[in-house]
Symmetry: C2
Amino acid sequence: MMPPFGLLHRRAWASLFGQLLRPSGLVCIGEVHFHSQVSEAVLISQLKPHQEKSNFVIKTPKGTRDLSPQQMVVREKILDMVIDCFKRHGAKRLDTPAFELKEMLTEKYGEDSGLIYDLKDQGGELLSLRYDLTVPFARYLAMNKVKRMKRYQVGKVWRRESPTIVQGRYREFCQCDFDIAGQFDPMIPDAECLKIMCEVLSGLQLGDFLIKVNDRRILDGILAVCAVPQSKFHAICSSIDKLDKIPWKDVRHEMVAKKGLAPEVADRIGDYVQRHGGVSLVEEMFQDSRLSQNKQALEGLGDLRLLFEYLTLFGIAEKISFDLSLARGLDYYTGVIYEAVLLQTPAQAEECLNVGSVAAGGRYDGLVGVFDPKGHTVPCVGLSIGVERIFAILEERMKTAGLKIRTTETQVFVATPQKNFLHERLKLISELWDAGIKAELLYKNNPKLLTQLHYCEHMGIPLVVIIGEQELKEGVIKLRSVASREEVAIKRENLVAEIQKKLSES
Amino acid sequence: MMPPFGLLHRRAWASLFGQLLRPSGLVCIGEVHFHSQVSEAVLISQLKPHQEKSNFVIKTPKGTRDLSPQQMVVREKILDMVIDCFKRHGAKRLDTPAFELKEMLTEKYGEDSGLIYDLKDQGGELLSLRYDLTVPFARYLAMNKVKRMKRYQVGKVWRRESPTIVQGRYREFCQCDFDIAGQFDPMIPDAECLKIMCEVLSGLQLGDFLIKVNDRRILDGILAVCAVPQSKFHAICSSIDKLDKIPWKDVRHEMVAKKGLAPEVADRIGDYVQRHGGVSLVEEMFQDSRLSQNKQALEGLGDLRLLFEYLTLFGIAEKISFDLSLARGLDYYTGVIYEAVLLQTPAQAEECLNVGSVAAGGRYDGLVGVFDPKGHTVPCVGLSIGVERIFAILEERMKTAGLKIRTTETQVFVATPQKNFLHERLKLISELWDAGIKAELLYKNNPKLLTQLHYCEHMGIPLVVIIGEQELKEGVIKLRSVASREEVAIKRENLVAEIQKKLSES
């Protein structure tokens, strides 16, 4: 059992979204689709219509998308919770440019390097869009000679993958990274990274999850003691990494038939990489006659033993599985690696979503040294939250529940039942804005009262102030609750105070 | 005088930053610059050091920069205030990809089109990084057939300008845009845009400012009645636009000598574009014998007359100057245009900063139609806040004042005076995190107490919980206030409650 997370509970998903969601089925005023003619004013600008060109298709680039206001509300709530957690662990925020010098990114991402977006050579430097937030962070540390830093970064990254949008994968997506850089006593920062992953995933109430843990040195040790030729390490690792998607016999076939491994070597590997378990498996591996001969593997096992000790103190040990098949693709990892997966889809309707890993990370002690002019390095460990996938799950869940999201925060609508009251409405709304009240009106000289009230219902605006000739004469304003349809007359000079009182009550 | 802005006042700059700033002069523990050797673990990864390459320089791309945690704190506060204002006016948030199909951006930005970053052709679509947030918004409206929307968007845009970094201009920078799309009665949304600019600039307490207003149709009318050949409109407009930086005689010289205008035509233009004033200048222009013959100019003047009427109701008319020289470079404007400038630098030290315009916008009624397959258009008006320049001003101001910013929000530090207390510290901090308390400890098995207390002072952490053998035996914890150095013993089981009480008091 996870211990309860006070802050996260208080901000639990249901109650958090309770403020934003309204049951569907409200009377909706459809979007008004009028088609005005191209106005004369267009002639003033120098614009050439796209329609005159052949093959004109209006779209976003392949693998990218706009995020609608509804989507932005959900996304912002997720990001807020993730950032809250990062701050709870003392991290500072950093930002780096969207692109880097091309050479900063080369030879960091293994087989995936072909997915990097390059910018066109327009004279000057050769540039590439960032592929993750880890390499820019390491570049930042080396460039500024920073030897210690706990930082988080939230931003878009770009990868030219063939977009399998059903899985929530895009070519442009957001990452939320937390990293600890510095020379510290072993496994304390590493354990904190796993704790953070647990807090985020529990806080977002995504359902049950598991974090697979392994160590690059153990994996390398296994390949060494199984007598895999050094030159094949990379290729065999990437086969092993597929074990979470395809069965061992297929992985074995790939190793033997495609990658030229001797069958008995493959079988020896199979004995190891099909195993997973808790801290007891770490102890078992310590006793393994072959693996215990390998120095690297022993170092990795020693660190994992210590890691489990700390994870137990954090109360999260049973969320962690020592999984000998976990390999992780990126070139820069040097020690502990981990990946969080959701154990089941929490509702029937979400079965079609194969979300895979929702958070991952590891230790990369060599990356900063690669950038440092003298090769001085700074050990680092970190994690990345896969917010796009989390976002896809929650969006699907909300669709299933038939929930509708408020996309604005407007508190008060300024209405009139009468003609020629625009001036009064403008004066009044200006007063509300200046008092910090979120307010709207219709941009019409003479809107119908019913249209104005429908707008409030449609948009979920809770209060309406109504001003007409009668009210103007009496120096009052009508304040109407949209939900109850109750109206009270209040003195004009008390308007702001009364609204603030009403808003603080609700 | 501006009316007071309740919300903005409550969140006024000084008090807002009061929570973040500490006077400089605190004892600072310098960054620890140790140089560990490249560890053995590096060998596991496949990374090739950059140092082995010739001409290795570690840097960010030309015209871009990292934002340090200190800078991020200031930036986030500015963005929060801007977004607060946008929400107060009922806007929804939208996000669009960082790049668009190249053809979406071509022929929208006039002479500046050469500044667009293109992506390399790696097979597939031709792409460009977005140059502003306005064209993507218009593309979004046309693509989704949205006929009405009040949206804001905050995001980076990219322009290949020769970076004059002293002026706070970069090739990558953040924009905050608010736009109102839809067919409405004239000048009501336009007036709201100007109101928003006033609220943002007042709220940020940047000092006195002025918003210059003009109309594209008036400018075109002036050129027409002065007998400027249609083919020269563009070139002459861009000369006029320089009047805020260079005197009329130099602008006139450019028109005549470089752009081939007859001297008497230039003089006629000069009679108009050197004028600026309030609503009375609008009336004066209505009486102008030549201009009053031009249909476009009359339309523009009529709209400005109405605009000033609404601005008076909003209480901001005297912040607005009808300035006949304002032209704005972008191709897509069709009606009212505006630009906010700071009137003076508020402190001596900031004189070196030429900040120029800090917000700008206008009406673009034709842009959506350019994207719509059938040419149907949606009238739009909007504004963009130049947050980079505002950021540069505030950063400079804080530097002058010698203020230091807290870059983390950590509330409690977990310390021990004794050796071998890591397990107790880990259990304790885990409890705090789970209760939502922002907490840190040193990643050392046996840190010195003085080092731990210095860390708190250096980082501005207000509370320390101290656990040692004595406390463990008695079932208590010491809670220490870093500022007063007072310590109280509290029961272990009351720890979270006591801390939360203490934090709510401060």
